[in-house]
């Protein structure tokens, strides 16, 4: 009895090990092809996660990460009790809100309007035009903004100065920072954002519309009862992804739009990490800020995903 039991485990283990060896031999080409990609993810995506433990240390490059002193949550506490924290949080959330409550609904509206357009040639032309700004860099978008809003000479400066009876330098004025950022967001990505909705709408069975027409449904009723429900799953998925990005304002746009005069409203978590980490060399502290941001994003994305499932919508996980 006992001898039989003792003899058993090696017999179980051996085939497993042999199977592994067989796998490696059998799939050697595939493993080899995948190797550079795996090294990439290990090096540039996961090694930084391991390195992020400097958020809990007083990292001094000379001493190395392991040699640096362990300080626990001191940097997180310092950040949360920093007098700048409320301002950063408000600035970040305001920009997130502009994106979520204005830019995102505008994308849906544009997609619905395009979907209602019967003139196919106009539809294609408008689509071609509104996708273009997405491919311009933030540097170009911000530069174009600077030219359009150049004080005294820019066309949009002239227009808004006349409209509001002001002669402010809109590029530096804190009151103009958020409107300008919103305009840029809408201009650059509203058109591009419609692609995914139009793809969802293309999949709607046309017979549903015909049946609705026979039943006497008006145009608005068809939009409300057929079109919108058919893009609802897409809206939910995008909302989940959006929520996870709430603290990510998009570094390039905000960094490029901020200057010494509009800092009070322009400073957000993303740019704060850059200024503290890269410009001032506070590696541990800025890593803690970045980690805080990433963890909040992770919680939000899983939270909204859970909520979506509670309301019988398909989540993303």
């Amino acid at each position: 009895m006992t001898t039989a039991l003792e003899a058993d485990p090696p017999r179980v283990r051996k085939p497993a090990r042999r199977r592994l060896r067989q796998d490696v031999v059998r799939y050697r080409w595939l493993f080899l092809l995948m190797l550079p990609g795996v090294v990439y993810f290990a090096l540039f995506r996961f090694w930084p996660m391991y390195g992020a433990r400097i958020a809990f240390k007083n990292y001094i490059p000379f001493l190395g990460i392991d040699g640096s002193e362990w300080v626990g949550f001191a940097h997180f506490q310092a950040f949360l009790s920093n007098p700048d924290f409320p301002r950063l949080l408000v600035n970040t959330l305001v920009i997130a809100a502009l994106s979520l409550f204005i830019a995102f609904p505008l994308t849906i509206v544009l997609a619905l309007l395009l979907n209602e357009l019967r003139l196919q040639i106009l539809k294609r032309t408008v689509q071609t035009l509104v996708y273009i700004p997405h491919f311009l860099s933030w540097t170009v978008v911000v530069s174009i903004t600077a030219l359009l809003f150049a004080i005294d000479t820019g066309p949009l400066w002239t227009f808004f100065a006349g409209l509001f009876g002001t002669d402010a330098n809109m590029l530096a004025d804190p009151d103009w920072f958020r409107p300008l950022v919103l305009m840029q967001m809408v201009w650059k990505d509203t058109g591009w954002g419609t692609i995914i909705f139009l793809a969802a709408l293309a999949g709607v069975d046309q017979e549903q519309y015909e049946a609705a027409i026979i039943d006497g449904a008006g145009r608005w009723q068809r939009v409300w009862n057929i079109t919108i429900p058919s893009i609802l799953p897409t809206i939910v998925v995008l909302l989940i992804l959006h929520t996870g990005q709430i603290l990510n304002t998009g570094f390039e746009q905000i960094y490029l739009m901020s200057n010494s005069l509009n800092r009070t409203v322009a400073d957000v978590f993303d740019t704060y990490v850059y200024f503290a980490g890269i410009e001032q060399g506070a590696y541990s502290y800025s890593t803690a800020v970045g980690l805080f941001k990433a963890l909040v994003g992770l919680v939000l994305i899983f939270g909204t995903n859970w909520l979506a499932k509670r309301f019988n919508q398909q989540g993303i996980f």
Binding site: L33, I132, W138, G218, L298
Partner: protein
Amino acid sequence: MSTTHKRFNTRAGRAFDVLNVAVLTGVGLLAILPFLYVLAGSFATELEITTRPFFLWPNEFTTASYASILSSDVFVRAFATTVVVTFVGTFVQLGLTALMAYPLAKPDLPGRRTILSLVVFTMVFSAGMIPTFLVVKDLGLLDTYWALILPMAINPFSLIIIKNFFQQLPHELEESAKIDGANELQVLWHVILPLSKPVLATFALFYAVGIWNDYLSPLLYLSDTSKWTLQMILRQVTAAASLSADEMATDVPPPAQGIKFAVVIIATIPVLLAYPFLQKHFAKGMLIGSVKG
């Protein structure tokens, strides 16, 4: 026949159609007008730019702004650098992505699920700017062009879409190639890649536009100004007037307005040249690949 007529017949419906055409024409124009203004301005004289508020065609046509830019060594070098980095970078990035996507498209590959979960994890969580910067620094990539290519080499979204595309290709092709004695590398090269040209072209262009437009990487990783890319130079030139003097890294006097217009155009033209090819494929490419699998 009668149903389609009914759709057009209500008066409110017709009014909506007219309004919709007007609104969408306006939206299309708004998308392109700022760029057309900058284009017109780049061919206008300094006087015209500062005195006419808005125009789409210069009264007096001049190429002086372009001549002045193209005579600048700094600018020409930055342009050439960016072209080379974009070409090499696209090749490296697309190559790495396709090589990794192919094995992951095999449902029976051991460890496949684990690797895919880890890839998806990087889409929702990243260590952030500073730890990545420190890795790039430790690898000795600071102030090298590889720092503009390698840290973003594989985009997880692109990887998964290309993987899904490979997965839905008919298996019979691959099996018949294997019966003829081809190994995996030969199958990938002679069977899979030729069938995937439209998808690969789409992602090549996305990667290329990403590298061309990148501002964050050179900002973080290139402190040697002689290595700067076009986007960095563009920023330097156009920020001159709107920022106070202390934000400028150089002591050069602010450039004339016309030069700013022309620099924006030169930084944009390559992307706009790629756009028609991109547009032909992106909607289709994205859709094929995004089928769940």
